[in-house]
């Protein structure tokens, strides 16, 4: 069974649309993350979240919002998609902060 799974794997959409990426982990971890990897392969943290604390990277536009229905899920909602949002988005989880993070396979988002 995949430890951290993301859906969809590929997402192609028009500018201005609203979309969601789902992430689920079956590791029993209490902390989850969203990262963005741009075309130059830079991997940057977007959000860190557990049931006590949400840490938002200050560079993330407020069109992006994480939503966690329960500890095993952290979905990423994106409103009014822009061309610059095209990237690969990775979900990860860990047991608490400052611990090994396990990554999903990524969602490749293309905004046309």
């Amino acid at each position: 069974d995949t430890a951290v799974s993301q859906t969809p794997k590929y997402l192609v959409t028009q500018m201005g649309n609203d979309k969601s990426i789902k992430c689920e982990q079956n590791l029993g971890h209490d902390t989850m993350y969203w990262y963005k990897q741009d075309s130059k392969k830079f991997l940057k943290i977007m959000f860190s979240y557990n049931n006590k604390e949400l840490i938002i990277n200050e560079t993330v536009p407020n069109r992006f919002s994480p939503k966690s229905p329960d500890k095993a899920h952290l979905n990423l909602h994106i409103n009014s998609l822009e061309l610059g949002d095209s990237a690969v988005y990775f979900c990860a989880s860990s047991q608490g902060f400052r611990n090994i993070q396990y990554f999903g396979a990524g969602t490749r988002l293309s905004v046309l």
Partner: protein
């Protein structure tokens, strides 16, 4: 913020050769992580180092953290095509998030 510099940016080696990838921080590292990424896939955890002078090995890969906890090296012995990929170092910052270096793209020629 924690900035990590990796070198080299890319590396092409002949199969069987040894190689080293470096990761340098401007600040003391709380924890240093090495990950490997293959094209179209997520990051695979390799090793975590926390103590100054610490060294860990897994199969043909050895990672070290210097005494000052500001530099780490990843050494691959007798490289194989299966070692090819992008190697990323990551470090915890003071506000609990993980910052990554830009990555080192390794190509191993058979």
């Amino acid at each position: 913020s924690q900035e990590l510099e990796q070198s080299p940016q890319s590396l092409i080696v002949q199969e069987g050769k040894n190689l080293t990838i470096n990761c340098t921080s401007s600040k003391t590292l709380y924890g240093l992580y090495w990950y490997k990424q293959k094209y179209g896939e997520g990051l695979i955890f390799l090793m975590m180092l926390q103590k100054g002078g610490e060294e860990k090995s897994h199969e043909k890969i050895t990672a070290k953290l210097d005494e000052k906890k500001q530099q780490s090296s990843l050494h691959i012995t007798a490289s194989q095509p299966s070692h090819a990929g992008i190697y990323l170092c990551g470090a915890e910052s003071s506000n609990n998030d993980m910052r990554f270096g830009a990555g080192t793209r390794l190509t191993v020629k058979p």
